[in-house]
Amino acid sequence: MTMATIEPIEINARFVPNPVLVKGEGRPLVYLHGLIGQEWPDLLDRLSGRFRVHAPAHAGSTDARDLESLDGFSDLVLYYDDLFDRLGLDQFDLVGHSFGGAVAAEYAATFNRRVRKLVLIDALGLWDDDHPVADHLLAPEATRRGLLYHDPESPAALARHKLPEGQEEMLAAMIGDITALASTAHFFHPIPERGLDRRLHRITAETLVIWGEADRLTPPFYGRAFETGLQRARLAIVPDAGHSPHIEQAAQVEALISGFLA
């Protein structure tokens, strides 16, 4: 697996350049990451065989000062619209996981003509009192891992959280993790719901909703809620996966996405 290239994209003077990971040739695909920071999982490498994959870091997830210019999802959606312009994207496929799923849905509801097809993987953004989304923020690390994965001890899950060697590098990585978690909390703490249900009807793109069967953070109830609330959506439940099926069952999720986007 060859690593993607980092393309630092300037948005404007208010933000640090976004270190967008880019790889592959083909139709453009954008991947928006979840709660724990920018990533280039095996899934994206597989997809880069067919698509030109762009994986930005969420604003504020690498430098918290970005957040001073972002007071909510509408600001964040415009940030991404600028970023997609700078990347030269016109219409594209949009994939979002968890927090990134909420951003992808908000984006698709706002700029509904730019999103060709939408994939939501265990997306946040909805709330039901009888099925509360779990609190990953005020939780010890072990509990948080348990919320993120069906099996936090699986090789794929462990690999996702592997820290680099060397004291400075390790400290930097740990601070990076904290900054990333905080940047999503900036928009979603303490309840990850900001009215997306009122905007879902605006999403015109055909949507694939992928959900880990054992998601303890955002239970499959929400997969069905997205399926019901969207105009053209299909739900695929992934067995032996929790909140992160794209990590836990990469091959299966890649097959689902490739089939859907074909």
Partner: protein
């Protein structure tokens, strides 16, 4: 001889005034729930945010404790403490003074010369924060200019946990609220305030504080470098509130004093305050007999807050995290493995609690106060399960036999306490009267 108060008033003393050079003893009340189950830590996740109210906090009993707390604060006034200290916490069994301004209002109404150390209003939690400017001004007026306006950032438990603020917004809201309050007190109104979080067309609080330009502002910190810097940028008093004792606090206080030096300010000890638990008996042995079990309760119950509540991602800046890691500072207090088997010797030798006979306590305190270089001491004399009677016993022994021995610690250096309310002077009756000239 004329001199100026912190607030800039000219004061012409009549008689001899000594209060502004005295080390200040503040009776600080945590206002906790005194009747907690001994196996609390085994049964519950945390003393803060999540201890279920219906299971643990009986309203009738809470009412009794609120009355005891007020009686103890009033007793402290009668015993000659220089200041009466209160603060703000939420959903916390070791202290649930949900609105310190309510307690301060009761104290402000009393005929008294003691400072009211309101430490304070957790600024990010007040919307709009003009309310703090109004209520502090009300308290300053009602008390006749005896208020200290404490403006803590707030703990992660209170701000992010109980009040649901995104951790990344706590400091931003804090700085903006501070800016608004300071302007509200010092600028002629009405004027517009266009903040990121607060937008007000007509800022024009009624009343403004008696103390001009405003009451002394005190900060409360737990080790954030930003707070040290904020203190020196604004020449505010900084208070380190810990339950770790002076030995554990040394590195942290030194960090503050280093910042004071970097900022080119003098090393006036009244820039700094510190909270300390103290228990006094007639003898060391009596102190052990009377208090050991209560201290064990405190460590077992009150200190039962998990690290993931104190260390919520986003509360600390990356610079502060790096600083803590580099200095190897652990902000979560060392927990005793078996608090109920911890010995008196362990506790007092580590100085987490300073305890013993009046002589022992005064000696250890003097050394600690000099070592940390603090001019404002917040003494915590009611600890966890101590009842009304035992608390009073501790307070009387402290006030009568310890306090007189530590008051003169900083006299030789001749510093003036610029951070003390102009009209709060417990010694006024004996030392003369104050005449404040606007």
């Amino acid at each position: 001889m004329e001199r100026k108060t912190y607030a800039g008033d000219v004061i012409r003393p009549v008689g001899i005034l000594k209060e502004d050079v005295l080390m200040k003893s503040i009776f600080f009340h945590m206002q906790g729930y005194r009747d907690m189950p001994r196996d609390f830590a085994q049964r519950y996740e945390s003393v803060w945010i999540t201890p279920p109210s219906d299971e643990l906090c009986d309203p009738e009993t809470a009412g009794k404790y609120f009355r005891w707390n007020m009686e103890e604060l009033e007793l402290a006034d009668e015993l000659g403490f220089d200041g009466l200290g209160i603060n703000e916490h939420h959903q916390n069994a070791y202290g649930f003074p949900v609105s310190p301004n309510l307690m301060a209002a009761i104290l402000a109404r009393r005929e008294s010369n003691a400072a009211i150390i309101n430490l304070g209003n957790t600024l990010p939690l007040y919307n709009p924060p003009i309310r703090v400017a109004e209520e502090f001004a009300l308290l300053d007026c009602l008390s006749g200019g005896r208020l200290v306006a404490g403006i803590p950032v707030g703990t992660p438990m209170d701000t992010v946990g109980c009040y649901g603020l995104p951790p990344t917004q706590v400091r931003a809201r804090y700085y903006e609220a501070h800016d608004l309050i300071k302007q509200a007190w010092t600028r002629p109104g009405p004027f517009p305030f266009n903040g990121r979080f607060t937008k007000l067309r007509y800022v024009n609080p009624w009343p403004k504080p008696i103390q001009k330009p405003h009451p002394p502002i005190w900060l409360a910190g737990g080790g954030s470098m930003e707070t040290w810097k904020f203190a020196t940028d604004n020449n505010y008093a900084y208070n380190f509130l810990s339950f770790g004792g002076p030995l554990a606090a040394k590195a942290m206080m030194q960090g503050y004093w280093d910042q004071v030096e970097r900022a080119g300010l003098d090393d006036n000890p009244y820039r700094a305050g510190f909270a300390q638990m103290v228990v006094v008996g007639e003898t060391d042995a009596e102190a052990e007999r009377l208090y050991l079990d209560h201290l064990r309760n405190f460590f077992a119950i009150s200190m039962h807050t998990p690290p993931h509540f104190a260390g919520i991602p986003g509360v600390m800046t990356t610079d502060s995290i790096r600083n803590l890691v580099k200095k190897n500072v652990n902000l979560t207090y060392k927990q005793y493995e078996n608090p109920y088997e911890t010995s008196w010797k362990d506790i007092v030798e580590s100085r987490r609690v300073i305890g013993g006979s009046p002589e022992t306590v005064a000696d250890v305190l003097e050394e600690s106060i000099r070592d940390l270089r603090v001019g404002h001491l917040m003494f915590i004399l009611q600890i966890q399960s101590m009842d009304r009677e035992l608390t009073e016993y501790n307070m009387r022994l402290f006030a009568e036999r310890v306090m007189p021995r530590i008051r003169r610690i900083w006299d030789d250096e001749g510093h003036v306490d610029h951070w003390w309310p102009a009209r709060a002077t417990t010694q006024r009756k004996s030392a003369g009267t104050l005449e404040v000239v606007a």
